[in-house]
């Protein structure tokens, strides 16, 4: 996943307004591609393309939203907390923090099982 994607790639990805919008919206709550398409005022194709690139860099996580009626759909959630660029002593540094994964075994268990 992240072998093909270094911090420079993330920086480039963040340059894209739709990728930024997706990360912004899904930092509040998980959303389907359709919802994102409406919120970000972009076509589904655009959204899916950005989501694919964000997934490649492990910046967005895909989950299955279970529905009582049985029609489960995919939702996406941002995994990026912060990205910082700094310039010091003739060097550029990038610092990236991802959303921490669940620590409680019960929650990890739930996440794993619901993801199946």
């Amino acid at each position: 996943m992240s072998e093909e994607c270094d911090e420079e790639d993330v920086l480039e990805l963040l340059n894209d307004e739709y990728a930024r919008a997706i990360l912004t919206e899904t930092s509040a709550e998980p959303m389907s591609a359709k919802t994102l398409s409406e919120r970000c005022d972009a076509s589904l194709t655009t959204i899916y393309r950005r989501i694919d690139r964000l997934k490649e860099c492990d910046l967005v996580e895909e989950r299955l939203q279970p529905q009582p009626d049985g029609n489960h759909y995919k939702v996406f959630v941002s995994r990026l907390d912060s990205f910082a660029v700094s310039f010091e002593d003739g060097e550029m540094q990038t610092e990236m923090a991802r959303v921490p994964t669940e620590e409680d075994p019960a929650d990890r268990f739930t996440e794993m099982w619901e993801g199946l």
Binding site: G70, P105, A106, F109, T110
Partner: protein, 100 residues
């Protein structure tokens, strides 16, 4: 009462299996409570029916037969019961997987 080595081994493994089954089943139940997840509740019941309950049955059966040899006549019936409970547990787990 003296037990042979095999009986001790069966009892020890049964206790260990019940413990692990309860641990995993409990975490699944906590997952249900913390995440309001119905599949996890089904999984929890399934895991306990698959592991803790049948192993407890094995434990109790082994112990009873050693204490009261005439109980051996029930062994096959109790074995079937354990199998049925394990099947029920698997059914719950399967249901949890597909019924979302």
């Amino acid at each position: 009462m003296t037990f042979d080595l095999i009986t001790w081994a069966v009892l020890a493994v049964s206790v260990g299996s019940v413990t692990l089954g309860l641990v995993v089943g409990y975490q699944a139940y906590r997952g249900f409570r913390r995440n309001d997840s119905r599949p996890m509740r089904l999984l929890s019941v399934g895991l306990i029916l698959l592991t803790a309950v049948p192993f407890t049955l094995t434990f109790v059966t082994t112990l009873l037969i050693r204490l009261e040899p005439s109980f051996a006549q029930f062994r096959r019936g109790l074995f079937l019961l354990a199998q049925v409970l394990q099947f029920a547990g698997l059914a719950f787990i399967t249901y949890s997987l597909y019924e979302r």
